[in-house]
Structure formats: structure tokens, C-alpha cells
């Protein structure tokens, strides 16, 4: 495959050692009529080639906004990035020119959105939209691009790809459309895929098909994968490590096994306790009291303090930093030891 103007041609000293993507102290805010909504408040995470990072959080916790910042697809204004670094292969994307970022987008970092129907163009055939990737980025002829499109549809297991290449998005089921979105993201063999709730709109049986496909392709191409979700179940099956978000911050960050067996943050712990389990018939469900905060008025100290069963005075005044817990994990809680200990 020939990639024109490959940006990695420009060597950077530490490109080999640095993680594939590293987000440092990212802040994003929106200027709205109600005030400034602080959607992302100092997010840090990193992902390596071949690794899956799950970003977990409830709706409004800032998962999509931080991913959009990485992709460079935030509308600015109303969005603003007052602070932070987004290092891709060691280079800060926030300091690049628009031209440079466009070259990375799609080619090196691709994104899969939750709602496949609205991210595909309804009046163009699926084959045309897939082929467009090759025509625009690689200058292939229409005929070659179409052949590539069929190959890709085959890769993501669309039955009878050759016959269906001229069909329109609405003629495919939800699961097939999501597989076509995956095909589109894969087209240029990116180094990193960001999948924003890729299976949330799908039935469990189809969700399983799609997740399996995504995991398989990721391993095959040795890509980094950032999987954004609100579903603790989905990530347990595929993630290597998990970053839990609350009110625009990562409150816990850990290898997947640790987080489920021994959460080190009261919010993670509450979430795990509040979901009913298929293999257990419990009594009353544990419920986290109250509601997620309004982002124009995030509580002082720890943002989770009004809902936290362990909150003390210090939680209402001091913002907890991400304390290291063992070697590869962290918890932004003043009482992480006590949380772990119980």
C-alpha cells in the first residue's frame, strides 16, 4: 500500500519509545448560555500498538468529547481546549497545522461512531463510500477502488459482498451497517482506531458478532484500540486496561482484571455493584444515590463527593489527585486504600 506524504517519514527522536497515543492533562470546555461547561478536566491516558484501552463512563462524563478532541473534530467554538497535549507517535497534534492533522485523520487514526446509519451517507451506495477512501487517499481508479471495497466488505463478513456492493445503507441491518463502518475505518490500515460506543445500538447477539470482529481485526493489524463505552460488561471481554471517567476526569485507571476484582475508587465500586448480573439473582440492587453533576457547576473538591458513601470533609475541599495504586494503576480518591481494603 502506498501512502502519500506519510507523516512518520519525519523522524522524531523518541517516536519508537513513546506510546502510540498519549493524552496529557487534556481540558475541553464549552461556552454555553448557562455558563462554561467543563466537559473534560485534565484527562490522561495512553495506548500502545496492539493494546485495547476502554474508556468507561456514564453519558455526559466526557468520553466522546475527549475522543473528538483527539480526532480533531470538535466544533471550536463552542468548544475550547485551554490546556493539554495529544501526543501521537510522540508529536503533539494540538501544535500541528490543520494540514498535518488532516493527514493523520482517517489514515493513521480512524474513528467508528455509535450510530452507523447517520454517519453513512444515505444517498450513496456503500461500495461507493468505501471506495472513496481509496480514490481520495490513494488515487486508485474507480474500478480498483470498487474491487478494494468488495474485498473489505468480505473482510468484515458481509455475505454476498460482490452482489451487495451497490446497495444503499438503509438496505443493510444495524449490525451490517456497523460492520461497514468498521470496514471504512480499516480501509487505510490505521495505527489507531477510536470506537465510540460501537455496539450500543445493537442487540446482544449482533453486539457479540461485532465485538468479536473488531478484536480479531485489531490483533491481525496490531492496531491500538480505544473503546468508549458505558457498558461494564462489553469491556470486560475485550479490554486490556480501563480508564473510568466521571465529570470529565479519569477517576480510576487500571488493568482490566484489577478493576473488576478490586476497584480502588468508590464510583467504580458503586457502578460494579449496581448492575444486575446474569449469573446471579440478587436481592435489592445497590444504587448510587443522586445524579451526575451539572458540568457548569461541578462540586468543589472531589466531583463525586455528594454521591459518595465514603466522603469526608477533605473530599469537599481538596481535589484528589490520581494516586498510584501498585505499579500500573491509579485512583483519584483520598481514600483509595480504604476503598480497596474493605
Amino acid at each position: 500500500m502506498t501512502v502519500i506524504d506519510d507523516i512518520s517519514d519525519v523522524p522524531t527522536p523518541d517516536a519508537k519509545l513513546a506510546p502510540l497515543l498519549e493524552v496529557r492533562d487534556l481540558h475541553v470546555e464549552f461556552h454555553t448560555r448557562d455558563g462554561v461547561a467543563k466537559a473534560v478536566n485534565g484527562v490522561n491516558y495512553s495506548v500502545n500498538a496492539g493494546e485495547t484501552l476502554a474508556v468507561l463512563g456514564e453519558s455526559g462524563s466526557g468520553k466522546s468529547v475527549s475522543a473528538q478532541a483527539v480526532m480533531g473534530i470538535l466544533d471550536m467554538p463552542p468548544a475550547r481546549i485551554p490546556k493539554g497535549e495529544i501526543l501521537f507517535q510522540g508529536r503533539d497534534m494540538l501544535k500541528m497545522s490543520g494540514e498535518e492533522r488532516r493527514k493523520i485523520r482517517g489514515r493513521k487514526i480512524a474513528m467508528i461512531f455509535q450510530d452507523a446509519l447517520s454517519s453513512l451517507n444515505p444517498v450513496l451506495s456503500v461500495g461507493y463510500q468505501l471506495g472513496e477512501m481509496y480514490r481520495v487517499h490513494q488515487g486508485l481508479s474507480r474500478k480498483d477502488a470498487k474491487a478494494k471495497a468488495i474485498e473489505l466488505m468480505d473482510r468484515v463478513r458481509i455475505p454476498a459482498a460482490r452482489e451487495r456492493v451497490g446497495d444503499y445503507p438503509h438496505q443493510f441491518s444495524g449490525g451490517m451497517r456497523q460492520r461497514i463502518m468498521i470496514a471504512m475505518a480499516l480501509a487505510l490500515e490505521p495505527d489507531l482506531i477510536i470506537a465510540d460506543e460501537p455496539t450500543t445500538a445493537l442487540d446482544v447477539t449482533v453486539q457479540a458478532q461485532v465485538m468479536e470482529l473488531l478484536a480479531e481485526l485489531q490483533a491481525e493489524y496490531n492496531m491500538g484500540l480505544i473503546l468508549i463505552t458505558h457498558d461494564l460488561g462489553v469491556v470486560a471481554d475485550v479490554a486490556d486496561k480501563i480508564a473510568v471517567m466521571y465529570a470529565g476526569r479519569i477517576v480510576e485507571d487500571a488493568p482490566v482484571h484489577d478493576i473488576y476484582s478490586k476497584p480502588a475508587h468508590p464510583y467504580t465500586k458503586g457502578l460494579l455493584q449496581s448492575i444486575p448480573r446474569l449469573d446471579q439473582k440478587g436481592q435489592e440492587l445497590y444504587a448510587i444515590k443522586g445524579l451526575p453533576p451539572n458540568l457548569t457547576r461541578i462540586p468543589s473538591g472531589c466531583a463525586f463527593n455528594p454521591r459518595c458513601p465514603m466522603a469526608q470533609d477533605i473530599c469537599r475541599t481538596d481535589v484528589p489527585q490520581l494516586h498510584p495504586v501498585g505499579t500500573a494503576r491509579g485512583s483519584a480518591c483520598h481514600f483509595w486504600k480504604e476503598t480497596l481494603g474493605e
Binding site: E58, T205, V206, R277
Partner: protein
């Protein structure tokens, strides 16, 4: 605008429930014994709903039908929760609408205390409707944004003034707000001033207004955040005990359905594939579709992933306008044989289990019904 806060939280009492430590097994057995000699409150028999497919603009010709519900039967007992699960488009919401008489059934009967409500109209229907209420999926669109919370909850009284005479209404609405854990002072607020979980509480309060016996809940918590879902589920369970309500709980989340249901029916393409008690369905499923569905549910436990067998179904659900012959599941079933294409399996206790005392002894519409532990709980 200030964020409304809950006046109380009846749901944050997990600790007390744990302390009480009710003997689960005994309770379940007692409940089963009770069921056996109770009359069902609702009996659904061979319920069918076909939506005509038409072609042509001036002269409409019927070219077929979407067989949304195609012969569904089940019973509902007083005070129990019957869960209905199945993939998108299998006919769950259509069943709900038929039970509510919001759609006219193409065929079949729904007996409410012995009376077929599909044949009722006018005053007789109105009288029955009072006792069967519904809570909808989407707390964002199911409430009229221009009505106050008080008017929304009190609206059913316009149709049934006998339940709450004019002078009593405000008091009754305030009581209902209190029952669902909202501050009665919010009576004059509008829906947009509430969060999703609070709006779902408003929907529940409205469903309770007429003191119904049955509440049909179509995906009542699917649109809510994980941390808020548990609050609403706990509220629904509390209200069920308090008012002896029967629930039909429709959802695609199998874990939530297991948590709340006494019995569960699994739907596939307009039919019930398997039905039984929660333990029978989740721990001893005999229908290949139920087994596949259960095996696909992600369990929030990475340790479990090594122990679980995953059945990944190929392909998608066929169109309900043109379902496969014989067994409808055969196009995706890994056990399908020639017989499955020719002969439709009926929903019944499989003969091989009929004479034995086993949890596999429950209704399953498969020629080759056999047990398979997919959840790993047994």
C-alpha cells in the same frame, strides 16, 4: 435553573436488604407453590398482529404482511413479574400495544379476569383499561413538554374522574409524587427540569394514578444511565410489593430481566420460543435461541470470560414479512436439521422431559430441546 434533587431516596437502602438476609430459596419455592393454585389475572391466547404491506399510491394493493406477532400465548399471575426478552423487531412492543388495546389484534384473545378484552369497546373497554397501565421506554419523549408534572400525572383522572374527584386531585398527585420518591413541591415544574431517571419516575407515577392491577413496562430503564437504572428498578420492586402489582417487563437487557422477573418468555420473530421460571430459563435453557442469547450477554467479570462458552450466531434476524418455514430460528440455528424446515415446533413441554422431575421441564418450541449451561451459574 437549579437541579431538582430527590426529596428522599428509598433506593439507597441496599445495606438494610442485605442485613435482613431473606432466605431466597424458600421464598422462591413458596411463590411457586402459590402460583400453582392461583387464577391468572391475564391469559393471552394465540395473539396475532399482522401489519399489511401495501404497494401503489392511488390504488393500494396489499402485497403481504409484517407478521409482527404471530401466535403468542402466556399467563400473568397477580403480583408477579413476567419478563419478555428478544432481539429488536421480534414483536415485544407490539405485544404490549395489543395488551393495552392500542392496536387491534388480527386474531387471538386476551382474557382479563376471564373476559376477552380484544372484543370489548366503549365503556366496557374503558373500565378494563383503568386496570392495565403502561410505562414507556423513553423518558425524554413520552412526557408532554408543555404540561406541568401535576397535569401529566393527573391527566388519567380526566378520563376516569371516579378515581379522584376534582377536589382531591392535587392531593392525590402529591401523594403519587411522594410514592415515587419525588418532592411533592415539584408539582408545577415542567419535564425538562428533571433528569432522565426523574422523568421515568414521573412516568411511573402516572402509570400508578388509576390504581391499576397490571403495569406493562416497555424498556422502562433502557434509556437511563447505569447508576440511575438501579434506583428505578428498586422503586418498581418496592411499588410492586406495596400495591400487589403485576408487571409485564419488556427489555432487551437479559441481566435486568433476570433481576426483576419471576418468569421469563423469550421471543423470536413474533413467537415465544421458550417460557419458564427465571431459574428454568437462565440456568436450564433448552431452546438453542435462548442459549445463544444468554451466551452473548457480556458479563462484567474478566475471570468469567475464560469459563464461558460463547455461541456466536451467524447472520441477522430474517424479515418478519417473510419468516422461514417450519422453525423460524432455523436459518441461524446450529442444530437445525431437515425436519426443522418442514415441521413447526410448537411451544410445549418437550415430551422427553414431561415425565421427569427436572428444571428442563418447561415450555420450549424446539424439536431437539436439550439443556445446555451457558451462563455458568448452575
Amino acid at each position: 435553573m437549579s437541579e431538582p434533587t430527590l426529596s428522599k431516596d428509598p433506593e439507597s437502602s441496599a445495606a438494610t436488604a442485605a442485613e435482613a438476609g431473606a432466605p431466597v430459596v424458600e421464598a422462591a419455592e413458596a411463590a411457586a407453590a402459590q402460583l400453582a393454585d392461583r387464577e391468572p389475572i391475564l391469559q393471552v391466547r394465540n395473539l396475532v398482529k399482522h401489519f399489511p404491506l401495501t404497494q401503489g399510491i392511488v390504488v393500494k394493493r396489499q402485497i403481504g404482511a409484517v407478521k409482527a406477532v404471530d401466535g403468542v400465548s402466556f399467563d400473568l399471575y397477580a403480583g408477579e413479574t413476567l419478563g419478555i426478552v428478544g432481539e429488536s423487531g421480534c414483536g415485544k412492543s407490539t405485544v404490549a400495544k395489543l395488551l393495552m388495546s392500542l392496536e387491534q389484534a388480527t386474531a387471538g384473545e386476551v382474557f382479563y379476569k376471564g373476559q376477552d378484552i380484544t372484543k370489548l369497546s366503549g365503556r366496557a373497554l374503558k373500565a378494563v383499561r383503568r386496570n392495565i397501565q403502561m410505562v414507556f421506554q423513553d423518558p425524554y419523549t413520552s412526557l408532554n413538554p408543555r404540561m406541568t408534572v401535576g397535569d401529566i400525572i393527573g391527566e388519567p383522572f380526566d378520563i376516569h374522574p371516579e378515581v379522584a374527584p376534582k377536589g382531591d386531585r392535587r392531593k392525590r398527585v402529591e401523594e403519587l409524587l411522594d410514592v415515587v420518591g419525588l418532592n411533592p413541591e415539584y408539582i408545577n415544574r415542567y419535564p425538562h427540569q428533571f433528569s432522565g431517571g426523574q422523568r421515568q419516575r414521573i412516568g411511573i407515577a402516572r402509570g400508578l394514578a388509576l390504581n391499576p392491577e397490571i403495569i406493562i413496562c416497555d424498556e422502562p430503564v433502557s434509556a437511563l444511565d447505569v447508576s440511575v437504572q438501579a434506583q428505578v428498578i428498586n422503586l418498581m420492586e418496592k411499588l410492586q410489593d406495596e400495591f400487589n402489582l403485576s408487571y409485564i417487563f419488556i427489555a432487551h437487557d437479559l441481566s435486568i430481566v433476570r433481576h426483576i422477573s419471576d418468569r421469563v418468555g423469550v421471543m423470536y420473530l413474533g413467537k415465544i420460543a421458550e417460557i419458564g421460571s427465571d431459574a428454568e430459563i437462565y440456568e436450564h435453557p433448552t431452546h438453542p435461541y435462548t442459549q445463544a442469547l444468554l451466551s452473548a450477554v457480556p458479563v462484567p467479570d474478566p475471570e468469567a470470560r475464560e469459563h464461558r462458552e460463547r455461541i456466536i450466531l451467524s447472520g441477522d434476524v430474517p424479515s418478519p414479512a417473510n419468516p422461514p418455514s417450519g422453525c423460524r430460528f432455523r436459518t441461524r440455528c446450529w442444530k437445525a436439521e431437515a425436519r426443522c424446515a418442514e415441521e413447526e415446533p410448537l411451544l410445549a413441554i418437550p415430551t422427553r422431559f414431561a415425565e421427569v422431575d427436572t428444571p428442563a421441564k418447561h415450555e420450549s418450541a424446539c424439536h431437539f430441546a436439550e439443556e445446555k449451561d451457558v451462563v455458568g451459574a448452575a
